[in-house]
Point group: C2
């Protein structure tokens, strides 16, 4: 394949982009994070579990826009709900009934939550959540897991540029699933511990996903409870893929505050944080706003999303199809004499190659798959959606079979 021809329009656009945008493409969608040269750079359209790049290539998508696409791109009911409200007026001088309806719906779904607030991004909510923890406790220290992603704000960004030591002066880190290290961090925070923020499972970039050890979660939960520390669940990535009421229900623990984004709007821009009654006063004291945060259409979209997820039992569908994907990949790998590790819950699956630390096989595999119309990210956990049907998995597993054969051949 001549890659320049194959991705001609992507490359031409990227050249134009590089002149007027730093790096051409930045952030989590940067081509540098996939396999430069092997992946398309620009998308054109999407439908269900498939998208098309600007050169017209079609892909079965296991990234789902890095999470938001939970029901399938352009789900007709969601789009109709949003468009109907958009026609009335979206961004107004006051909130609309939709914010009340959505807050009522979410507080009914999330067992411990008495209230909800809304934003536009995960970072909006995680940053506000640690402020609420500080306001509620009158303390300063926030404990987070090493290598966990909680957004792009200075206190938590994975980037190095423009950060001051003060931005993280009261952020302490501990290792995932390591009770001793958590206890050490907690002791270090002492009487000044305001909050602990975790995801429900660990999904570092460039690493296998790691499910939580129940004893580890119990230790965090009890420590927070006994010391009056606010226990924050960053459910931005897992929310509405593992349990409709928050992924703490899937893993059996109880946080005090939860942050949602991504799947909440099926691509319509919305995020939300919900908390316990005890945190309401602190929540009302931490200023929170943005130009479009009361916009009605994404809230109407969210209500449609939640209704469909419930009615169609999409979470069970994603779990089942994710398991089928895991099984199919395991068996295709075995057939080709390639050892893989499957990690993460089936609805957010990931694979890596056993005994590999440099990701060369992962990159080769992903590059071979994308050539065959299947988008697997080599370094970032994947996402299932409600539109991954059997025929999509059939095509996917045939592509994976050939890609594993190519890995075997290339690395022998």
């Amino acid at each position: 394949m001549n890659k320049t021809e194959h991705f001609e329009k992507s490359l031409t656009l990227f050249e134009r982009a590089s002149k007027v945008i730093p790096c051409g493409i930045y952030g989590h969608v940067t081509p540098a994070a996939t396999v430069p040269g092997a992946f398309p750079y620009f998308a054109r359209r999407a439908e269900g579990c498939r998208y098309w790049d600007v050169d017209g290539h079609e892909y079965i998508d296991f990234l789902c826009a890095y999470g938001p696409n939970v029901l399938g791109y352009n789900h007709p009911h969601v789009e109709e709900a949003a468009a109907r409200v958009q026609r009335d007026g979206n961004c107004l001088n006051h909130p609309t009934e939709w914010s009340v309806l959505l807050a009522e719906k979410l507080t009914a779904l999330v067992d411990f939550a008495a209230w909800a607030v809304f934003g536009k991004n995960g970072s909006d909510m995680t940053t506000w959540a640690i402020q609420v923890a500080r306001e509620h406790t009158g303390r300063r220290k926030i404990l987070k897991v090493k290598g966990a992603y909680h957004g792009s704000h200075p206190w938590c960004t994975p980037g190095h540029g423009g950060i001051l030591p003060e931005d993280r002066a009261h952020i302490l880190e501990f290792s995932w699933n390591d009770p001793e290290d958590f206890t050490r961090a907690l002791q270090e925070a002492g009487e000044d511990a305001a909050g602990v923020i975790i995801s429900s499972f660990h999904h570092p970039i460039f690493g296998d996903s790691i499910l939580p050890d129940p004893a580890f979660l119990k230790l965090i939960e009890e420590s927070c409870h006994h010391r009056g520390i606010v226990f924050i669940l960053d459910d931005v990535r897992s929310g509405f893929r593992l349990h409709l009421g928050g992924s703490h229900r899937h893993f059996g623990f109880e946080p005090d505050l939860i942050c949602f984004c991504k799947a909440l709007g099926n691509g319509h821009p919305i995020s939300s944080a919900l908390g316990r009654e005890e945190l309401r006063i602190a929540a009302s004291r931490v200023f929170l706003t943005g130009s479009y945060w009361n916009s009605a259409a994404p809230m109407a979209a969210s209500l449609a999303v939640l209704e469909i997820l419930e009615k169609e039992n999409t979470l069970e569908h994603m779990r089942r199809q994710g398991e089928r994907l895991f099984e199919g990949l395991r068996s295709a790998a075995k057939k080709n004499g390639v050892k893989i590790r499957c990690s993460g819950p089936p609805a957010l699956p990931f694979i890596s190659f056993a005994d590999e630390t440099n990701f060369y096989r992962s990159q080769h595999f992903a590059a071979e798959c994308i050539l065959r119309g299947v988008f697997f990210h080599p370094h970032h956990n994947w996402f299932m959606c409600g539109a991954h049907h059997d025929r999509d998995l059939d095509h996917t597993l045939r592509a994976a079979d050939e890609a594993f054969a190519s890995v075997k051949k290339h690395f022998s």
Copy 2:
């Protein structure tokens, strides 16, 4: 008027909201910032320069959703452009051609800019901008104007909750239009001055707007230039209302980095920062991303907005109608024996009552206007839009005449 009946649906919704949302309504749209009881709490729909509350009352709107509505609510060309792209797919795995087109358009409009990035809120961009200033200079101090609003993030939020001294450890403040105070702050920052951030005119809440003294702007510009400090223009509020190329062009100065939001998308969620070539490397080093930041529909909306603003000379229309509003209000006030101060540029007008410090007259005036179908905020600068036509101003000035008469009577 029985207010409970007049705003029955607003009040019922607010009661429901108060159960599931801290304060019921929070942020910049909180009823507490207007005149509690006199203003509607929830909006239902909007069209042109008018909106309707949930009780069916119609208002001529001089807040424009606090800025975003620059062309009129539901402008058909903007809505069509966004809907067409939304039908193809909005939030995808990669950026789309729209991000390149919009970056090309914006860098062509803004004279000093070589590149653009995109976000969802003003705060996303102002926070990133100060990080870029720090990364570029390797210094820490950011100078800002006392009482200026640059967003809701910890370093700049007007709120008090959940803030640590470290969040503002390297933020220095100086008084607007006060060269001596600026020089003092600059000396205090010394060799550690990374950036200066200002709006093009000062628009404090609970205060008159104050236009810039050209010598003050020149001093900031030259000081930044001589000391290699990054000069940031927060054009979130004024952008695309004073000059299509950034409001520095309107006032005659030259920043290094500019932040846009609000009017850029006519209500579609988008913000942008643009900077000089010299800042490109620093810009590429400060991690910047969010779940929906590459979404295509708001970018297509922005391109339509910019095209219409140019083609229809909407900025001149807003200036002219703002001047007509100022003149009409001055003359109606005079007729009724009430002294007012008009402040701000005509496209972002504001009035206050002379010799008043408690805002009682402002609140009474605004409450009387809203009763007559005209939304003037008592404490926050107003916004003109392209859909404020003569008949709207005629109605507005008749309402204002009666409201001034009521102020005169009530406060005599």
